[in-house]
């Protein structure tokens, strides 16, 4: 019995995942290659043939490429500061983590209230006399402002998740390494680059994988701020499923997101690989 116990304890979670993750996943994969009862790649060709597909694909990629590095840099900085603190550490940690408690749609709406034509930013600009009348920021003519607004909202909302993982990771690094570096007269920057970063690889791996996958799934923030003016893969998936009622093509989009996520996960695992003997 004691030998079976761990498996028994894992059973509920496994059953839950099989029922609510694995089963729908298999179904979506199946839907993506099925059309009118025949196996075909037509869903994928329809998806790729749509004029918005490449825009949506590259918007998603560029968004991830801009957002994730900013978040990585900020999360590393924030985590370093929090780790160094002697007092008030948990208070600061809680404050940093506040945006985590907000749903992504709510985060999008908060930033919408900043950027919309009657929003806070326009009121500020008018109040300061910089512009005569509220200007249209989130219009189709300047999608780059929409892009910047989305980047801001995403950075604001989801940096803390990386930070929390990195803080935990930094706590695991034995103090002796840092002390040894001090003995050899290493500067703070050298200590960070040569000691902290390499020792942090496992946590960086987790944080990056989590963030990158979430970045490819970005949806509510984009829809709240840009409507259909800045298509991303996820918003197109939603659109094909619900507005166009083309489950097959929506499933094809979902498979593309999955493919990209898996590819980047493998890449990150490779790049940040830590040999077994070198782990803390």
């Amino acid at each position: 019995m004691p030998r079976l116990l761990p498996y028994l304890l894992l059973l509920p979670a496994t059953a839950f995942l099989c029922l609510f993750f694995l089963y729908p996943f298999v179904q979506v994969a199946h839907d993506s290659v099925m059309r009118n009862g025949v196996y075909t790649l037509e869903n994928f060709s329809r998806m790729a043939g749509h004029w918005k597909f490449s825009t949506a694909f590259w918007n998603t990629m560029i968004l991830a490429a801009v957002v994730v590095p900013i978040q990585l840099a900020m999360a590393l900085t924030m985590a370093s500061i929090v780790t160094k603190l002697q007092r008030g550490r948990s208070t600061i940690l809680y404050i940093f983590a506040i945006p985590l408690g907000i749903s992504d749609l709510a985060a999008g709406l908060i930033w919408l209230s900043v950027f919309e034509q009657s929003g806070f930013l326009n009121s500020l600009l008018v109040g300061l006399g910089i512009v005569d009348r509220p200007i249209l920021l989130l219009g189709y003519q300047n999608t780059w402002i929409i892009f910047i607004a989305i980047v801001l909202a995403e950075v604001w909302r989801a940096t803390a998740i990386m930070m929390v993982i990195l803080v935990a990771g930094m706590g695991l690094i034995p103090k002796e390494y840092g002390e040894a570096a001090d003995v050899f007269g290493a500067s703070r920057w050298q200590k960070f680059r040569r000691v902290t970063l390499p020792m942090l690889k496992p946590s960086l791996q987790t944080a990056l994988i989590l963030r990158v996958i979430l970045a490819f799934e970005v949806f509510a923030v984009v829809v709240a701020l840009g409507g259909t003016q800045l298509p991303v893969l996820m918003s197109e998936t939603y659109h094909w499923q619900f507005a166009m009622q083309e489950r097959g093509v929506a499933a094809a989009f979902a498979m593309v997101i999955l493919g990209v996520s898996v590819a980047f996960t493998i890449l990150i695992l490779r790049l940040l690989h830590v040999p077994k003997g070198a782990r803390v």
Partner: protein
């Protein structure tokens, strides 16, 4: 102890059945219409109150609406007694709707009843209420109306002149158009702009006349507020005076009139070379084959057609009756403003009704997307009109063949799927 538990369970069961009891008896009216809270409350309090035993009126978005209906159909049994939706919502459920020929609907016009057959021999839905789209202008814009133009008989060229003059006088574009994600822009292209220039929605999609239509619209777009890509209900921007001249569905401009009845005028859509095209909107009521109590469902459908119910519905939703009936004098300002404008549009000598898509089944969303994509590519992305029309025509043709949908007015009737020239 044991008996106490048992007693508690019984009590719980009794109270549960008391809660569930009356709800089960009330027929469930599952609708895509009257979704705003005030409208659905009015539907419950004022429209449905007269039905013996009451009605559980539940509005929902189109996606969840269809999903629940399909789930009940797949399960083979359900709670939905009556479905309410636009023509396009109901047409995707055709085979699963029961024949309503037994309903006495003599007061409803035959053309509208024909829509409800969804191209089958059966009466799949009964028309419930109707609406259309109108133009609205702030009275302040009237002074810029081009000389000699009659607001009740405008042409697209005059509308452009008017929008230009208003823009020049006020220092910013003042035309409004619901081009946001929830806006009904596709209906403007399908039922107004294209038919007015080509006398067709589908067949002449890529004709030279269609190129002219899009050129005209591109010109009008210069005087359209660029924020239009965020607009969904034009009443909001009319009230804030972000726009002075606008096009939208009557139910989506009603608030402007109800809030400031003296500041706005409603008038017919403009005319093009082929006529004053406009799109009548029809909502219908249907009964799914899984309805729990057929007799009760039929009674509810019949109830919805009574003149008093129809007028109450008009008050609640700003959708007009489908039966000929005299309207009382105390109707809301929006109804009083829209009524004459609709009459002027439908009764115009050059009136050209362009019907809602028919026979597309669940391809309605994709059909709309063809027009939305064309708009986004030509107007927003600035692509070449001819190139875009040629490539979108291919999408449209494939769609019509896949749906096997014959032409509907104003396109000439076709054998087999509606052709795209």
């Amino acid at each position: 102890m044991k008996s106490l538990t048992k007693w508690r369970l019984t009590a719980a069961a009794v109270s549960l059945s008391m809660v569930a009891g009356p709800a089960l008896a009330e027929p469930l009216f599952w609708s895509t219409q009257a979704k705003p809270v005030e409208e659905s409350q009015k539907m419950r309090d004022e429209v449905m109150a007269g039905f013996p035993g009451g009605v559980d009126y539940q509005p929902s978005d189109e996606g969840p609406w269809l999903t629940r209906m399909q789930a009940e159909l797949q399960a083979g049994s359900g709670r939905i007694a009556v479905l309410g939706g636009l023509h396009g919502d109901l047409s995707s459920l055709g085979p699963d709707l029961v024949d309503l020929s037994g309903i006495d609907a003599a007061a409803v016009g035959p053309a509208m009843m024909e829509l409800g057959s969804l191209g089958t021999g059966e009466q799949k839905y009964i028309p419930w209420m109707q609406a259309t789209y109108l133009m609205v202008a702030n009275r302040k814009a009237l002074e810029f109306l081009p000389e000699g133009a009659d607001i009740n008989a405008l042409t697209y060229d005059q509308l452009i002149d008017w929008a230009r003059a208003t823009a020049e006088a006020t220092g910013g574009p003042k035309f409004g158009f619901p081009a946001g994600p929830q806006g009904l822009k596709h209906r403007f292209f399908q039922g107004f702009l294209l038919p007015a220039y080509t006398k067709s929605t589908v067949t002449e999609f890529r004709s030279d006349a269609a190129v002219t239509a899009w050129e005209t619209f591109r010109e009008l777009w210069q005087y359209t507020n660029p924020a239009a890509t965020n607009y969904s209900f034009m009443q909001e921007q009319l009230v804030t005076e972000e726009v002075w001249i606008a096009f939208d569905h009557v139910a989506r401009i009603a608030d402007a009139f109800n809030q400031r009845p003296d500041d706005f005028v409603a008038f017919p859509a403009p005319a093009g070379p082929e006529g004053r095209a406009f799109m009548p909107v029809v909502a219908g009521i249907a009964v799914p084959r899984t309805a729990p109590d057929m007799e009760q469902s039929m009674a509810l459908v019949q109830y919805m057609l009574q003149p008093e119910t129809q007028i109450a519905t008009l008050r609640a939703t700003n959708f007009f009756p489908v039966i000929a009936t005299d309207l009382p004098d105390d109707m809301p300002a929006s109804v009083q403003a829209a009524g004459p404008a609709i009459a002027a549009m439908t009764g115009a000598p050059d009136a050209l009704p362009a019907l809602l898509p028919m026979g597309l089944g669940d391809k309605g969303g994709q059909f709309n997307q063809v027009y939305t994509d064309t708009f986004e590519r030509i107007i927003l992305a600035g692509q070449d009109i001819r190139t875009v029309l040629d490539s979108q025509a291919e999408v449209l043709r494939a769609l019509m063949i896949e749906a096997n949908a014959p032409c509907w007015a104003p396109d000439a009737a076709s054998e087999g799927p509606c052709p795209v020239n």
